[in-house]
Symmetry: C2
C-alpha cells in the first residue's frame, strides 16, 4: 500500500470504529450532537463566509459559469438554511431500534427484526458546500459514520464546514471520527475508498454521469445512485389540454437543470394536431428549443429534427424532444427503453390508461396528472435527502434517514438447538 | 461484441422484456404457471433421473468427494421435495401490488409506495440441481424473470430441469423467457452478465468465496451475497454450562458444512476452567479437532495451537477454534473484527450482557441462548430461500420472495405543478 492508500484505509477504519459506538446511541445524545453542530455553525458565520469567498474567487478566475458559481456561494440566508436544516433533522423520529416484525417460531424462539444503522457511508459529491452539513446531519441522526469527498471547486468551504462540525462534536466529547473527509486533490483516493468493503457499507456518488460510472466500475462496496434523469410526460389522447400545457411548462421550465425535469414529451397522435401548436406557442414564450420526430415536424414545421440520441439525452437545459406515438403501449415502451427509470407522468382523464401507465412504467416515481418535479425528499415529506436512487435495490427515489438504515435479525432463545 | 457476449446480451434482453409482462400478472396466473411446472416435473421423473445419472457417472469418473456426489444426486424423494416446494411457494401470499404506505401531500397529491418485482435476477450457483427449480419458483411467484448459471458438475440435471420448466410454461402460453440459463462451458459468460446493468437488476452468487469475489469484482449490476460464514458462540461468565455444551455441539456438529455452523467459540475467563474440560470431552466424542489460544491450551493441553488465521477460517468441517476472552467487550470486538457478520450467539443468563451483545454485534442474525444453525429461510418461516445475505443493503440474512421485490412511488394528481 502506498501512502495515500494507507491514509484512506486508516480513515475508513476510524469511521468503522466510530460507527460501532454510534449504533448504540440514544436519540437524545444524537440530538445533542446535532445542536452542538448548529451552535458552532452559528458562531462561525464570518469564518464560513471568508473561506467561501476563496472558492468564489477561484471560480471567477477559472471562469466557471454564473450558475455553477451561484451554487458554490454561501450567503447568510443559505447559512441560516443549513442551520435550520440541522435542527429540523434533529426533530425527526429516530429510526434506530424500531421493531419491524416479531414472531414466535414453532420452537419458541422469539424472532425479531430490528432497524439498525448501515454503518459507514461514503458520499462523493460536487459543487454545493451545504451538502457537507446536510449529509453529516442525516448520517448522525441515523447512527452512521460518514466519509465525505467534495469537489475541488468548493474545497475551502467544505474544509471549514467539516472543521466546524468536528469542533461542535468535540465540545460534547462526541467522536470526531463520525464525520471525516477524504483528501480532495488526489482523485485516486475515491478508487481506494470504493474497494474498502470491509469498512464501508454504502457509497452514494452524486454528480455527473462520468463520475458515477467511474465509482460503479471501481467499487466492490455497494453503490446507490442515479446516472441521470431522462423524465417523460406522456400526453394521452384523453388529456385535458390546459392541464397538459401547465404540467409541460412546469416540468421543463421551472428548473431545467434538475434531474426530475422532463426531457421528452410523448404525444398521442389523436391529440397532437390540437396540442402541439399550443405547446409551440408556450415553449417559444419560455425560450425552449423544440426537437421533434418527423410526424411532429409535419404539424410544427419550425421545429428542429430530433435525432436518435435526442431520445436518450439529459439536456438539463431549455431543450425538449417531442415524439408522436400511436398508442399508450408505444409510449410505455419508449419510456422503459429510452428513459432512465427516474420520474415519468401521464396526463389523461382515462382511468384505464392511468392504471396501465402506473403498473407498466418501470420508474422510481410514476405520476398521473402531476409534474415530475415532485420527486424530491422535501416534497415527499422525508425531511432532507441524501440523493435520489434509480436503482431498485434497497432504496428507490428520494433517500432520507430511513434509507440509511438496515435491519438485524435477533433470536431470543432458551437453549434451542436445530434438529 | 463477440458471439458469446452477443448471446448473453440477447438472453438478458429477452429476460427484460419477459419481466415487464410478469410485473403485470395477477396471483392466479402465477399459480397456474407454478402448477404447470409441478405437473411437468411429475410427468418426467424418469427423464430427470436418466440425465442426473450422467452427472453422477461423471462425478465418479472425476472422483468427486462422496459428499459432493451426494449433493448432485436426485432421488425420488428429492424430486418429490422439489415438486412439493413449487406447490408450497404457489400458496405463499403474493407480495406484488401491496400498498406499503400512502399519504396525501399538502398539495393534495395522493402519494403511494407500492411493492413491485425487481425485474431480472441473475443467479450463479454450484452443485445442487434442485436450486434450478427452487429459484425458478421463487422468481415466478415474485414476478421476476431469472437467468440461471449452474456448475458444470450438474450440467445434465440443470438442463433437463430447465427444459421441463419451460415446457410447463409453454403449455399455458407463459413466456419461456421468464426462466433462462447461460451457456455453462464458458466461464466468461458470467463476466458479461455481471456488466449488463441495463437489463439485469440483481445478481446473487452462491458458492465458494473465489467465485463470489470474481462476480463482485466484475459486476456493475448490484450483487447480494455472503462470502463466508464465520459464526461464533460466546460463552459468557454467567452461562448455563449444560445449555452452552448442547448449543456448541449442535452449532458445530449437526451439519459442519453449513454456512451457519459455528467456527469459533469464545469463552469468558471466569468460566473457562469449568467449561473447557467438559467441552473437550464432548468434542472428542464427536471427533472435532480443537485449536486453542495459549490460555485455552493451558487448561486443555491436548489441544492444537490456534494460529492467527484460525480466527478468520471457515472450516466447514469438524474443526473448531477456541479463545478465552477477558470480557464481553473483548468478545464483541473479536466477533466484529474477525467474523463474517453472518450469525453469532451468546450463552448467558445475564440480561445486561444479552442486551449489549444483541445491540453491539454487527451481524445479520444475533442469538441469545440458541444455536446459530437457525439462520435459514425455512426456519425463519420465509418459505424457501434464494440465499443468505451478509450485506447490509436491501436484504440481510435469509432471502425469500419479499427480498426479490422493490417499490415504486406513485403520485396521483389533478394537475399539480411545483412552485
Amino acid at each position: 500500500m502506498n501512502n495515500l492508500e494507507n491514509l484512506v484505509t486508516s480513515i475508513a477504519q476510524q469511521a468503522k470504529r466510530a460507527s460501532y459506538k454510534m449504533a448504540t446511541l440514544d436519540n437524545s445524545t444524537k440530538s445533542k450532537a446535532l445542536e452542538a453542530i448548529a451552535l458552532e455553525l452559528e458562531n462561525n458565520r464570518s469564518l464560513i463566509k471568508a473561506e467561501n469567498a476563496l472558492d468564489i474567487k477561484q471560480a471567477q478566475e477559472k471562469k466557471l459559469s454564473p450558475a455553477l458559481t451561484d451554487r458554490l456561494t454561501l450567503t447568510d440566508q443559505r447559512i441560516n438554511d443549513m442551520i435550520a436544516g440541522v435542527r429540523s433533522i434533529a426533530l425527526l423520529p429516530d429510526p434506530i431500534g424500531k421493531l419491524i416484525t416479531s414472531k414466535i417460531l414453532p420452537n419458541k424462539i422469539e424472532l425479531k427484526k430490528i432497524r439498525v444503522p448501515l454503518g459507514v457511508i461514503g458520499i462523493i459529491f460536487e459543487s454545493r458546500p451545504n451538502v457537507v452539513v446536510d449529509v453529516a446531519a442525516l448520517c448522525l441522526k441515523s447512527g452512521n459514520a460518514v466519509i465525505l469527498r467534495g469537489g475541488s471547486e468548493s474545497e475551502h468551504s467544505n474544509r471549514v464546514l467539516l472543521s466546524i462540525i468536528n469542533s461542535g462534536l468535540e465540545k460534547i466529547n462526541f467522536t470526531p471520527d463520525a464525520v471525516q473527509m477524504l483528501p480532495i486533490k488526489d482523485r485516486v483516493a475515491v478508487n481506494y475508498l470504493c474497494k474498502l468493503d470491509s469498512y464501508i457499507d454504502l457509497i452514494i456518488p452524486r454528480g455527473g454521469e462520468g463520475l458515477i460510472r467511474a465509482v460503479v466500475d471501481a467499487a466492490t462496496v455497494p453503490v446507490i445512485k442515479h446516472y441521470k434523469g431522462i423524465c417523460h410526460a406522456y400526453i394521452d389522447e384523453n388529456a385535458d389540454i390546459t392541464m397538459a400545457l401547465a404540467i409541460c411548462e412546469n416540468a421543463k421550465c421551472q428548473r431545467p437543470s434538475a434531474c426530475n425535469s422532463v426531457e421528452t414529451i410523448l404525444v398521442h397522435e389523436n391529440i397532437a394536431a390540437d396540442f402541439l401548436p399550443k405547446l409551440e406557442k408556450l415553449f417559444n414564450k419560455n425560450h425552449v428549443e423544440m426537437r421533434g420526430c418527423e410526424s411532429t415536424r409535419a404539424l410544427v414545421p419550425s421545429m428542429k429534427f430530433a435525432h436518435k440520441n435526442d431520445w436518450e439525452s439529459e439536456y438539463l437545459d431549455l431543450i425538449i424532444a417531442i415524439k408522436i406515438v400511436h398508442s399508450l403501449e408505444e409510449a410505455i415502451n419508449h419510456i422503459n427503453t429510452h428513459g432512465s427509470h427516474h420520474s415519468d407522468t401521464i396526463i389523461t382523464k382515462d382511468r384505464e390508461a392511468q392504471r396501465r401507465f402506473v403498473l407498466e412504467v418501470d420508474s422510481a416515481a410514476v405520476y398521473v396528472n402531476a409534474s415530475t418535479r415532485f420527486t424530491d425528499g422535501g416534497e415527499f415529506g422525508l425531511g432532507a435527502e441524501m440523493g435520489i436512487s434509480t436503482d431498485k435495490l434497497h432504496a428507490r427515489g428520494p433517500m432520507g434517514i430511513n434509507e440509511l438504515t438496515t435491519y438485524k435479525w435477533v433470536g431470543l432463545g432458551s437453549g434451542q438447538v436445530r434438529t
